[in-house]
Structures are given as structure tokens and as C-alpha cells.
């Protein structure tokens, strides 16, 4: 049985093909203005990689912020439920999922079956999200994907006090003007975000293992800061950005089984 999971996020679109217990292929592309076309393109790319075609898909589930814009999906499910399913599939010991996505961050408590027990999301602002880091990377003249490695070079502690994206950006610019090293500033930013995420996470009952998902989990510096702050067993999947799409595919498989 071949199914597809689509995660239409605010910054990236992820599609994944699941056949029985195997991830056959996946694709990650940036979100753009013509979302509907991009979703189709992304799925086609993934199908091409796996050698499948659209007609062979037994079921399709969409998740993410743009899940309601996928007319050909059999069902739309929130990214909270999907990240829980995906994290449970990748590591059944997972009891907490921390997903730092493009426009929001979430902490999800799950049970041994991957069912959501409770969850919490950031408030409406961009603080503590992928977008926040993107803006800061831009202000520092660093590529987003380089932030992690850069921060690992840091030798000096710097505290970033603002978490409002606009205020933090001006704070970063001021620090650059004062001659602070980029890597120290980035490390400070990671620490500020991890503090924010952890204070949110602590509102739930944090249980091991904590699985980090979402694009920001690819940032090694950010993962290190979170590990230090959480003082817990942390699991980072090989490709944390596709966990939502994987969860959607698992949900798609459940639909087929229940029919």
C-alpha cells in the first residue's frame, strides 16, 4: 500500500511517500505565492523519485498551515497530530515532541501509541520560530543553514534580551556595530530561543524521550542549546523537517485500514 503525506508549512512544503513500513521518498521545497501549483509540483517530484504515480496512491493526507488548500487530499489533519504520529513512528519511546517550525513552535505530550495527550503553542508573534532565525541570519549576513555551525565556534557568552523579532533584529545590529563576533551573537540567539521554548515546554509534563522536529532541529547550535536547557534525553531524527509529512502519511495509511 502506497500513501502520501503532505505538509504545507509557512516556509516550506514537504511531501513524502510511504510504502508499508518504508519511507520511499520525500521532497522539501520552499513555499511561494502559487501554493497550489507548488504543492502539486512537490508531490510530483516525490512520486518521480519513488517511481510511483498519483493514481497508485491509496490515500493522501495534508497537514500544516496550508492543509486546507489541498483539494486532492482525502483528509486534512493538524500538524500537531501529525508530528505526534511521525515522532512515535521514528522513535516509539517519544513522549514529548518539540516542533520548531517556520511560523510557530509547539510542544506536544504524547502517549506510547503516538496519541496527543496535551499540547501548547507559541503565541501569535514570531519569537522562537524559524522565521525569527531567518530574520536574524539576514541581519548577520549569514545563511540560515550555516547558523548552527557558526554558533559552535563561539567562545564568548552574549545575552540577547529581546524576543520580539523587530527588537531582536535591532539588538543584533547594535551588537554587530559594537564589534561582537557573529558566532557569539548567534549562540546568544539560540540560547534566547531555547529559553523561550523551554519555558513554554515546562507548562506541560515533560517526559523523556523528547523528539525535536521541524526545520530548526537541523540547526546543530539550536539543538545543543535546547539539550543544555532541557536536561533531558533528546532525539533528533535524521531529517526532522519531514516528521509532519511522515505523520500525515501514517494517518493516510490509517484511513485505508479503517475503510
Amino acid at each position: 500500500m502506497t500513501v502520501a503525506g503532505l505538509d504545507v508549512g509557512s516556509l516550506t512544503i514537504k511531501t513524502l511517500i510511504l510504502e508499508d513500513e518504508k519511507i520511499k521518498s520525500f521532497t522539501i521545497i520552499p513555499t511561494g505565492a502559487d501554493v497550489n501549483k507548488l504543492i502539486r509540483d512537490c508531490l510530483e517530484m516525490t512520486l518521480k523519485k519513488s517511481g510511483d504515480n498519483f493514481k497508485n496512491l491509496s490515500s493522501i493526507v495534508a497537514t500544516g498551515y496550508g492543509r486546507i488548500n489541498v483539494p486532492f487530499a482525502d483528509k486534512s489533519i493538524t500538524e500537531i497530530t501529525c508530528h505526534a504520529l511521525g515522532a512515535n513512528w521514528l522513535n516509539p519511546e517519544t513522549r514529548t515532541v518539540i516542533d520548531i517550525g517556520g511560523q510557530d513552535s509547539k510542544v506536544i505530550s504524547i502517549d506510547k501509541n503516538g496519541r496527543v495527550v496535551d499540547f501548547i503553542m507559541n503565541d501569535k508573534c514570531a519569537a522562537g520560530t524559524g522565521r525569527f532565525l531567518e530574520v536574524m541570519a539576514q541581519a548577520l549576513g549569514v545563511k540560515t543553514e550555516e547558523l548552527g555551525n557558526e554558533s559552535l565556534k563561539s567562545k564568548k557568552k552574549i545575552t540577547i534580551s529581546s524576543m520580539c523579532t523587530v527588537f531582536a533584529e535591532s539588538e543584533v545590529i547594535s551588537l554587530v556595530a559594537e564589534g561582537c563576533a557573529k558566532e557569539d551573537i548567534i549562540r546568544g540567539l539560540h540560547k534566547a530561543i531555547s529559553n523561550r521554548i523551554c519555558s513554554m515546554a515546562c507548562r506541560l509534563r515533560l517526559e523523556n524521550i523528547i523528539t525535536l522536529t521541524g526545520g530548526v532541529a537541523k540547526n546543530t547550535g539550536m539543538v545543543q542549546a535546547l539539550k543544555k536547557r532541557l536536561k533531558a534525553k533528546v532525539f533528533v531524527p535524521e531529517e526532522p523537517q519531514i516528521v509532519g509529512a511522515l505523520g500525515a502519511a501514517i494517518a493516510a495509511r490509517k484511513i485505508v485500514y479503517s475503510e
Binding site: Y65, I68, I77, T78, E79, I80, T81, D104, R115, V116, V117, D118, F119, M121, D123, K124, R203
Partner: protein, 420 residues
């Protein structure tokens, strides 16, 4: 200066002229009767009451008193005053899409965005002079501190008397005595000004009206325990809530609740529910919901969830005793479970969860209502231990700029997926 400045100024002056003319409400009333001819009778009574209130506030045949929702309305009817609730009017304005303009007006005159949006709308109304002036202001400090400061400010603005009823934290005999003395003193002072002597007959009459209305609300709430839910909490927190706060002690209030009771009884007898298929029964916590255009109710409906009850509609007070009017009104105020230690609210909420067969609880944390948001996590912890999931939904009741469609949808849907 913006290009359309003169145009805006002209529009504002025109609205002022229209809004402060009592005939306007006769015309709107006639139009709405036609427009809403197929609506339930109770809804039409509410419209009638709303336009009557606005018309009378313009005509000023009786002294107009501005007040807030937890100040007992029976007091005003007995004193022959005409009560107007700016925060409730703000909710109505938000529902017809005019709130943001008024909010921006108030913010341009130094009203902070941290002030409750309902009062920012009201401040905008005042600054635009779109609303009839009050003759006096009486408000209670119960549950809302922002309102007391707003009313103090308004009393300076309009140069009118302001009476603050200071509600104590604990519900005990001393608190009731303290509160009863304040109510009596206010009644005495107002009586001296408007020449209204508060006779036993009057107290009897208005208290009886209030008590009869209370009985119908209790019976109505009893009907709402039925599966499927006969009445949507979304409606209950709109026009029904307007009557809940402002019509106790008024004849129209009794008529409204009697009619609503009959309408609901018929639905229960015919097993007509709000939804064709009711999967999740929700209890809504906190006094308000968003009144501007939003998709929350659609999100709930699509997922077969219904707001079976809302804490704000719970009748927490005893019937009023005309023999002890001040003590009785004071008791009504101190028995509000939202005041005092959080354990009171938790106890009531848990009872409601059981009585209304609730599957999940949504706590709408209105940005301006600090008193409720503060205790949300304590309630959540308690309910979670009892196996009742609760969603804390941060939002705003009147300021749509604080509403994010996608983010709200994700929170609600994820919560309902969790219940499934």
C-alpha cells in the same frame, strides 16, 4: 494629512447625527423586524430590547446610567434609571464590523493597546461622540479593574457623578454587610437627586421580575443538559448574554427568557440539536467570545463539536429577597464564583463538566481579562487530573487585529483531534 481626511470627518459627523437621534432606532427596529422576520421570537425580543435601550438613551426620559455587567441591573430598574452597558454595546459593534475603527480612534488618543478592547471600543465611541452621554456612572469592581478606571475617566470627561461599588474578595458575612451598605448609600444618594423614593412596593415588583426571570434561566440551563444540545453556546454568549446581564428586573427580560425557554423546550421535545451529529460537547470558559467576524464556530461545527454550555450562563445566585434588599443584592454579587479563591471557580467548572456531559473544555483567554487568564492553568491542571482535556485559547473579544485565522484553526482542530 490623509487624502480622505475631510471625507472621514464628514462621515463621522453624519454618523454622530444619526446615532444620537432616537428616531434612528425606530427605523432600524422596523427594518430589522422585516430582515429577521424568520428568526426565533426570542431573538426578535432581544432586538426590540436593544433598540428600545438605545432609543431611550437618546431621548433621556429617565436618567441614563452607564454601568458594567456585574453590577446588579435590578438596582437601576428599581431606582428608575436607564442602564447602558458600554462593554456590551462594544460587543455588538464588533459583531457588525465597526469596532476596529473605534479602537484606532481610542488608541490615537493615548488609550493603550493593553486596555481591554471592549473598553477601547467604548472609548472610541465617546471620543467620536457617537453615543448619548451618561447622567451618572455606577460600576462595580467585580472581576474587572480596567472598567473602573475607564469609568472614572469617563466621569471626568462628562463631568458626571461616579459611584464605584467595591466588591470584596471573600464571600462572607462581613463582605456582604460592607457591600450592602455601599448599595444602600448609593440608592439613597441617587434617590435624593432624582426624587425616586425606593418603596417596598417597587422593590417587591422589580425583585419579583428578576426572580421570575432567574427561574426561567435555571429551567433553560436544565434543558441544555440534554443530548443533543438544543442551544448553541455561541448564541448564548451573544444576544442571550446581553439579556443575561442587562435585563434582570425588566419586563422585557422576563418575556425574553420565557420565550427562549419555550423555544428550547420545543427543541428538546422534538430532539432537535444544534448539530445533526454531535460528537464533542464543549464547555466554554470565561465571560466572552470573539464578536468580530471569525471562523471559530465553523471550525467547531466542521468537527462536529458544539458548545453545550458556557460558565457565564450559570446561575450562581439565590433568589432575591425583597425583605432584605441590600443584603440580598450584596449576596448576589459576592456569590459570583469568579470572585475570590480559584477553588470556587474550579468547583463550579467541574460540576458543569459533569452535569453537561462535557468532553472537553475551551478557556478563551481574552487579552483584556487578566482576572480569568491568571487562573487558567490551575483549572487546566485540575481538569486534566480528572481526565478532562482543556484548551487555553488566547485571543481577543473585540479587537480582530489580535485574531489569526490559521493559528486559531490549528489549535481548535488539534484539540478536537485529541478528543477523538
Amino acid at each position: 494629512m490623509p487624502d480622505n481626511f475631510l471625507n472621514d470627518d464628514f462621515k463621522s459627523a453624519l454618523i454622530k447625527k444619526i446615532a444620537k437621534n432616537s428616531n434612528t432606532y425606530n427605523i432600524i427596529k422596523a427594518g430589522s423586524k422585516l430582515y429577521f422576520r424568520k428568526s426565533p421570537e426570542s431573538f426578535k425580543i432581544w432586538l426590540d430590547f436593544l433598540f428600545y435601550q438605545l432609543k431611550e438613551a437618546c431621548k433621556k426620559r429617565k436618567p441614563v446610567v452607564w454601568t458594567n455587567i456585574y453590577t446588579p441591573s435590578e438596582l437601576f430598574y428599581a431606582l428608575d434609571l436607564f442602564p447602558i452597558y458600554p462593554e456590551v454595546i462594544s460587543g455588538v459593534l464588533a459583531s457588525i464590523g465597526t469596532a476596529n475603527y473605534l479602537i484606532e480612534t481610542s488608541e490615537s488618543k493615548f488609550y493603550t493597546t493593553d486596555l481591554c478592547s471592549f473598553y477601547r471600543v467604548a472609548a472610541g465611541l465617546v471620543l467620536k461622540d457617537w453615543f448619548p452621554k451618561p447622567d451618572l456612572i455606577i460600576s462595580s469592581s467585580q472581576l474587572c479593574d480596567g472598567s473602573t478606571k475607564f469609568f472614572r475617566n469617563m466621569s471626568k470627561y462628562y463631568n458626571c457623578e461616579y459611584y464605584l461599588i467595591n466588591t470584596p474578595y471573600y464571600d462572607d458575612l462581613n463582605s456582604q454587610k460592607y457591600l450592602a451598605a455601599q448599595l444602600e448609600e448609593i440608592a439613597y444618594k441617587i434617590g435624593k437627586v432624582n426624587g425616586q423614593h425606593l418603596s417596598n412596593e417597587k422593590i417587591n415588583y422589580f425583585f419579583n421580575l428578576s426572580n421570575q426571570t432567574r427561574e426561567y434561566i435555571i429551567k433553560l440551563n436544565e434543558f441544555r443538559k440534554n443530548v443533543p444540545s438544543p442551544l448553541s453556546g455561541w448564541d448564548a454568549m451573544a444576544y442571550i448574554l446581553y439579556m443575561f446581564f442587562s435585563s434582570l428586573g425588566a419586563k422585557k427580560g422576563l418575556r425574553f427568557y420565557h420565550t427562549l425557554y419555550q423555544e428550547t423546550e420545543e427543541k428538546v421535545n422534538r430532539k432537535i440539536g444544534v448539530l445533526k451529529e454531535e460528537k464533542h460537547r464543549i464547555l466554554w470558559l470565561h465571560q466572552v467570545r470573539p464578536y468580530y467576524k471569525n471562523e471559530i464556530i465553523q471550525n467547531l461545527k466542521e468537527n462536529k463539536a458544539v458548545i453545550s454550555f458556557e460558565e457565564v450562563s450559570y446561575v450562581y445566585w439565590q433568589a432575591l429577597d425583597p425583605q432584605r434588599p441590600w443584603e440580598s443584592l450584596a449576596q448576589k454579587m459576592t456569590s459570583n464564583f469568579g470572585v475570590g479563591p480559584i477553588e470556587r471557580r474550579i468547583k463550579t467548572v467541574y460540576n458543569l463538566v459533569r452535569e453537561y456531559k462535557i468532553d472537553g473544555v475551551i478557556h478563551f483567554s481574552q487579552r483584556g481579562c487578566r482576572q480569568s487568564c491568571g487562573g487558567a492553568y490551575i483549572i487546566k491542571d485540575f481538569l486534566q487530573e480528572k481526565g478532562i482535556p482543556m484548551l487555553i485559547l488566547d485571543g481577543d473579544g473585540a479587537d480582530s487585529r489580535n485574531y489569526s485565522k490559521g493559528q486559531t484553526r490549528t489549535r481548535i482542530e488539534a484539540f478536537l483531534e485529541m478528543l477523538s
